[in-house]
Symmetry: C2
Subunit: 248 residues, 2 copies
Amino acid sequence: MSDQNQHTIHALKVSCSNCSLRELCLPIGLNRDEMTQLDAVIRQSRRLKRGEYLFRSGEGFKSLFAVRTGFFKTSVASQDGREQVTGFLMSGELMGLDGISSNVHGCDAIALEDSEVCELPFNRMESLGRDIPSLQHHFFRLMSREIVRDQNVMLLLGNMKAEERLAAFLLNLSQRLSTRGFAANDFILRMSREEIGSFLGLKLETVSRTLSKFQQQGWLSVDHKHIQLIKADALKDLIAGCTHANGV
Amino acid sequence: MSDQNQHTIHALKVSCSNCSLRELCLPIGLNRDEMTQLDAVIRQSRRLKRGEYLFRSGEGFKSLFAVRTGFFKTSVASQDGREQVTGFLMSGELMGLDGISSNVHGCDAIALEDSEVCELPFNRMESLGRDIPSLQHHFFRLMSREIVRDQNVMLLLGNMKAEERLAAFLLNLSQRLSTRGFAANDFILRMSREEIGSFLGLKLETVSRTLSKFQQQGWLSVDHKHIQLIKADALKDLIAGCTHANGV
DNA sequence: AAAGAAGCTTGACCCTTGTCAAAGCGGAAT
DNA sequence: ATTCCGCTTTGACAAGGGTCAAGCTTCTTT
């Protein structure tokens, strides 16, 4: 449980070679032995090309997947073909949690760019959790975090106007990118206007118009998928009132 | 902790006396010994009057709560006071899962009628899960089910029109009530139009108008909070296309 | 290099839903 | 029983966002 694993920069890198999990998705204090056990369970990573499905709604559920590199969307489809994007995922984030309840995946997961994932066979993670309490606890926390995230999306979809939704979306993206060491104010959107709209409960035209409006006000610059935040504070002001009362 | 009060005929009752959990919320195969352990962990139930808070957003998280009798809503509030109802809960359903991630409750839970809950101290459930694999697994499934539920709400909020939302809401309520042995087509709404609207991302006037519209079409009758479904199939047709492609 | 497809932007118009207001009703408290 | 307050219904109007359509850019494919 002690951190004998932080010797040099090197050690960190080495211990993370299998998967970026250790850094982002499972940042828990494990001792060397426990790490070894975990390594034994985490399957080699799988590469996906842009547009490829990682799994589809209705398929049997066996594993969770952690994004190692790249970018994914998850979505649920209705019978008449409407799509609801339920999330965009970047490195360290976990997909497939919704499959546990019924042993069947509840959404599609699609790579939005060439990507790499780690596969976590759920049965084995579950039993490993019994041996490593902190791992078990971490899994509960991960699932809980997903529930919190979903509740915030409900707040967004239920209460916010188009401008507020888009501002919240951009700021969220910016924050997550900067956490991962990317520029917070200059990034490339990996998804289309339509996918953004689906996530935000808006039509693609509204997304486009609202981006243009933000640009006209000098709050950001839009060049197709290239976004530069210029006055992030103006965006923050926009959503100041309508975000969760107890911060993140 | 066990209620040694009821015997024999009530054998079933006995095993369920502590809490309705066993029937609805933890319907897993446990042997006698494991049941005893579980009983030792489940705290005596707590009674709440209508309008009373079970917990509030921001409070420290220690326990999950299972509804034993009564009816609850959970909601998140934004800084400027907008409320988003994130769920309505009836017997056997679990509240507080969103608190695990940060050890702080992420929503308010409020009794909509006089109610009774069981308290499940999370730490102890967690460690009990390590001894009883099926219990651990069940907890993962419960959390996953919550995620699935939230995704369906996103689909509702992101894609459906007012009529579709309300139809989906009523049918969901009907289905859950009938699961619990209540009439599927004749029930009392425990929540106000405003709370329904908050949950569905609509204003209370829209809820009211839409209910009136359904009544005019002969699909149901509305007498204040008393709803009678007359043509549930018409409601089902309404949402046929826009529900999740893979059933429940 | 050319051509097609896909994605994006913008405008015009309309529909659904929100907003504001008034009045009715019922339940809770005195 | 009475009164008051909160909830609900309904109408009129406004507006935000959806729909349809046209034209444009960029990327892909051949």
